[in-house]
């Protein structure tokens, strides 16, 4: 067993703007071709040989036990990647139309680079018709058309009824040439040609790996590279597929654009940045704090509905009685209590009992305004102004003078963000004042201890 570490992706192909212009498909093809190159390496590659079989010889094959050559520790993953490479047409099983890689003794052959997908093949149905027609002219049991191929041929005959004579002639001519070729060479070529069509006209039910994501295919940068004609036939169809629009010319940026860019860089430079060590600690601590709430780490009580089919945990959450774990979470930060509707409710209840709820009510009202249709905004803004900020407001809140002045101006031409500054100020107040009081209050502490349950220790999901 020899393990190989795949060589670093050939940098010469990817640097120097190469990456900038490679379509996503090309990127993947290049990587697969790197693996192929590795597999075909003169000294360290897979041995390709001629196998004697019954009365004949099978030329140029390698056995399916090749997964060691595909870099990865896990066999399953290697077989999967190998199957994908076969499905894309880089090598193929010699006795099957279905392109997979199996780890048994079956034989595979490399595809000739001429047929590689990186050549942007989009073979026409006329070529496929010629190919199928040619196949019927060859009197070999192994070359008999499969059912789906026979069906395709029948369909194509109907579709190309008017030029069938031409297609037939092409097929005949090719068959004639083929007969004169060396037997071994023919075997190899036939199989490679067949494998090509297995990629572009796959067995029904198999994945068609040539299908593209329409978002990407409409951006094809080099439409003239598309190969449509497999056999050098004259096509009366336009050479560019209508789905391919030429890539827009890369425009030189205008002066204004560069000035904007400069402004942008300047603003970025002025930004305050944190050291990586601090950031890392923060990420670690957040994750550590929430891991007990993460169902992938800590099984929910009593169980994960998707695993047990029991929805008790969802029913408990909709009840007005918050569980201890949930209440504990409100203590992690003001955002936790604000984003949980039950938390908001309890927080409000507490503040009302202290006759100091105007800040939270203001904050909630402003959040609400931003959720309304734009049509309702001016009215709502006025209502909020009257209730919380206008002289003599019934629920007067205290905002710094700067924000107050700005808000006064905003309210004259009310938009969704009229209260943004005031809201920010109130948020900071709540965070440092009301929220801390809430956490220290008996109100909250009682909620926290209300259900005297044993704590959930961190444990693996119970499957």
């Amino acid at each position: 067993i020899r393990h190989y570490v795949m060589a670093q992706t050939n940098s010469y192909r990817q640097s120097s703007n190469g990456v900038a212009d490679e379509s996503p498909n090309m990127l993947v093809y290049r990587k697969m071709e790197d693996v192929i190159a590795h597999m075909q390496d003169e000294t360290n590659g897979i041995p390709v040989r001629t196998v004697k079989s019954f009365l004949s010889k099978i030329p140029s094959v390698f056995s399916g036990k090749i997964h060691f050559f595909i870099v990865t520790v896990k066999r399953l993953e290697a077989l999967h990647l190998g199957t994908l490479m076969a499905a894309h047409g880089y090598f193929f099983p010699i006795s099957d139309h279905v392109l997979t890689l199996k780890d048994d003794g079956t034989f595979y052959r490399f595809q000739t680079p001429y047929f590689w997908p990186s050549n942007c093949w989009e073979p026409e149905n006329t070529d496929y018709a010629v190919y199928l027609c040619k196949r019927t002219m060859q009197n070999k049991a192994r070359l008999e058309l499969a059912d789906y191929e026979a069906e395709s041929l029948a369909r194509l005959q109907r579709a190309f009824a008017r030029k069938w004579e031409f297609i037939f002639m092409q097929a005949e001519a090719q068959a004639k040439v083929d007969k004169k070729r060396d037997k071994i060479e023919r075997k190899i070529l036939d199989s490679q040609e067949r494998a090509f069509w297995d990629v572009h006209r796959p067995v029904p039910g198999c994945v068609n790996t040539t299908e593209a994501d329409i978002k990407k295919s409409s951006r094809m940068k080099q439409p003239h590279k598309t190969r449509k004609s497999v056999y050098g036939l004259q096509n009366d169809i336009q050479s560019h597929s209508p789905a391919h629009t030429p890539a827009p010319e890369v425009k030189e940026p205008t002066e204004e654009e560069i000035r904007d860019q400069i402004q942008h860089w300047q603003a970025q430079l002025d930004r305050h940045r944190l050291k990586m060590s601090k950031v890392a600690e923060s990420l670690l601590s957040y994750t550590g704090q929430y891991v007990e709430y993460d169902p992938f780490f800590t099984s929910p009580e009593p169980s994960n509905p998707w695993i047990s089919d029991d929805i008790t945990v969802w029913e408990l959450e909709t009840s007005k009685e918050p569980g201890q774990q949930r209440v504990k979470r409100w203590g992690f930060g003001i955002n936790e209590v604000l984003k949980d509707p039950v938390g908001r409710e309890q927080f409000l209840k507490f503040l009302e009992s202290e006759f100091s709820s105007e800040n939270l009510r203001f904050w909630l009202a402003v959040q609400e305004v931003k959720k309304r249709p734009i049509r309702e905004v001016p009215t709502r803004v006025q209502e909020i102004w009257q209730e919380f900020l206008a002289p003599g407001a019934p629920s007067a809140i205290n905002v710094d003078s700067k924000s107050y002045d700005k808000t006064t101006q905003n309210v004259k031409d009310p938009g969704r963000y009229a209260f943004e500054d005031a809201q920010e100020h109130i948020y900071k107040l709540m965070k440092s004042d009301s929220y801390s009081r809430f956490l220290r209050s008996t109100f909250y502490q009682e909620l926290l201890q209300a259900k005297k349950k044993v704590n959930n220790w961190l444990r693996r999901p119970d499957v």
Partner: protein
């Protein structure tokens, strides 16, 4: 016939040893003369130098460009100065993760073509999904029952979203629009009749998301922009310009106070936007190909991206830089969609090689690889309470994993 002969002789070269001579003669023959140069360059490099008819840029433009480049370099230096340690180094003190048992718990069958997008309802069990055949389906994923189905007038419905109230869904794609359908309790009611067109772009709709209300929708498009819309009136509230190519994805920041979102595009950039002003407040460009998916870390201080360069990356907003790359030599197909587990410790990535890779966000290692889908995974999202995640695939199905 002589053409065919020639083609044969080219193909039948010993496949293992295709000499440079052979490649050259093959290309010389097959390409029209005008593309000759291109053909040869194809072997040696990837991009032929297109001779552009350029007018000599004037002094000011050159100076400005130089100034811009200098600032950019300076920014990169400033960012690098604060890079005193790697995330995975700091994470060494955290326990490693053991084996996870994640299985498909539900399979949703019913789409007749590639599933392109899905979203969860806030009730933690319903989902909406959209497909290449124009169908949008609302499911109770728990029972696997289909509850509503709409047929869009276009194919390739690339985006769909559930409204926060659970009473409507939004979707769009090749029609360049985002439409909202109220969900009726009456299953027999024709949903299509109540359809409301909200967003209008000049190219395909790649993603859409309700903000924290049924009344606003945020969209991204192949026209290179993002936009915020008022649902009731269809009015454009704010547009976001800055991407140099198609915008493929977006995600709203999970903050109660912030008004920001992140978008990713074919220009390889991930941009963070201020919803109020329309300004791009931060930008990251380290991926080597299209960014297909972006998702915030649950605290809102960072976000992950998945790209056609076969990597996922983590960017921290406070450090203002990329802080982790999730990749493996054996993963060569692009990542189409990413999401975090509730604590942010796990990153789930759906890939174009039909698999889902699960990453340890802090240590940077892969924890698990999930097989099951029979074609590309195109969409992936964690459920609202984190108890499961859903993946949608080109194999026409959706799977719930837990």
């Amino acid at each position: 016939t002589c053409e065919y002969n020639y083609v044969l002789s080219c193909i039948s070269c010993e496949p293992r040893v295709l000499s440079l001579q052979n490649i050259l003669s093959l290309i010389l023959f097959l390409l029209p003369a005008s593309a000759l140069t291109t053909g040869i360059y194809m072997i040696f490099s990837t991009k032929p130098e297109m001779a552009t008819q350029e007018v000599q840029p004037n002094e000011t433009l050159t100076n400005l460009k130089a100034e811009s480049d200098t600032l950019k370099t300076k920014l990169e230096d400033e960012r690098a100065k604060l890079h005193d340690v790697e995330l995975h180094q700091v994470a060494e003190k955290v326990d490693g993760l053991g084996q996870f048992i994640m299985k498909t718990r539900r399979t949703l069958k019913g789409h007749g073509n590639k599933v392109l997008c899905m979203d969860w309802c806030k009730d933690k069990r319903r989902i909406v999904s959209s497909s290449q055949d124009g169908k949008v389906i609302v499911w109770d994923a728990f029972t696997t029952n289909k509850e509503h189905a709409v047929t869009m007038p276009c194919t390739w419905v690339m985006a769909c979203a559930y409204a926060p109230s659970g009473c409507a869904v939004a979707c769009g794609g090749l029609d360049n629009k985002c439409s909202v359908y109220p969900l009726s309790l009456d299953k027999n009611e024709n949903l299509a009749a109540k359809k409301k067109s909200v967003a209008m772009h000049t190219n395909y709709l790649s993603a859409c998301s309700f903000t924290n209300s049924d009344m606003q929708i945020l969209t991204s498009s192949g026209d290179g922009t993002c936009a915020l819309w008022d649902v009731e009136s269809g009015q454009l509230l704010q547009s976001f310009h800055g991407h140099a190519a198609d915008v493929l994805c977006l995600d709203l920041a999970p903050s109660e106070t912030g008004n920001t979102f992140v978008s990713g595009g074919c220009d390889k950039k991930a941009n963070v936007w201020d919803m109020r002003s329309g300004q791009c407040i931060q930008s990251f460009e380290t991926h080597e190909s299209d960014i297909n998916s972006v998702r915030y870390y649950p605290s809102g201080d960072a976000f992950a991206s998945g790209s056609d360069d076969a990597t996922c990356r983590l960017y921290d907003l406070r450090a203002d830089r990329e802080v982790a790359i999730y990749s493996k030599e054996s993963i060569i197909f692009g990542a189409s969609s990413v999401d975090f587990s509730l604590s942010g410790r796990l990153l789930f990535g759906g890939y174009n090689d039909y698999t889902i890779n699960v990453w340890d966000v802090l240590k940077g290692t892969r924890v698990s690889i999930l097989f099951g889908h029979e074609n590309r995974v195109s969409t992936l999202r964690l459920s609202p309470d984190g108890t499961a995640f859903c993946s949608g695939s080109w194999d026409h199905t959706l799977r719930i994993w837990a």
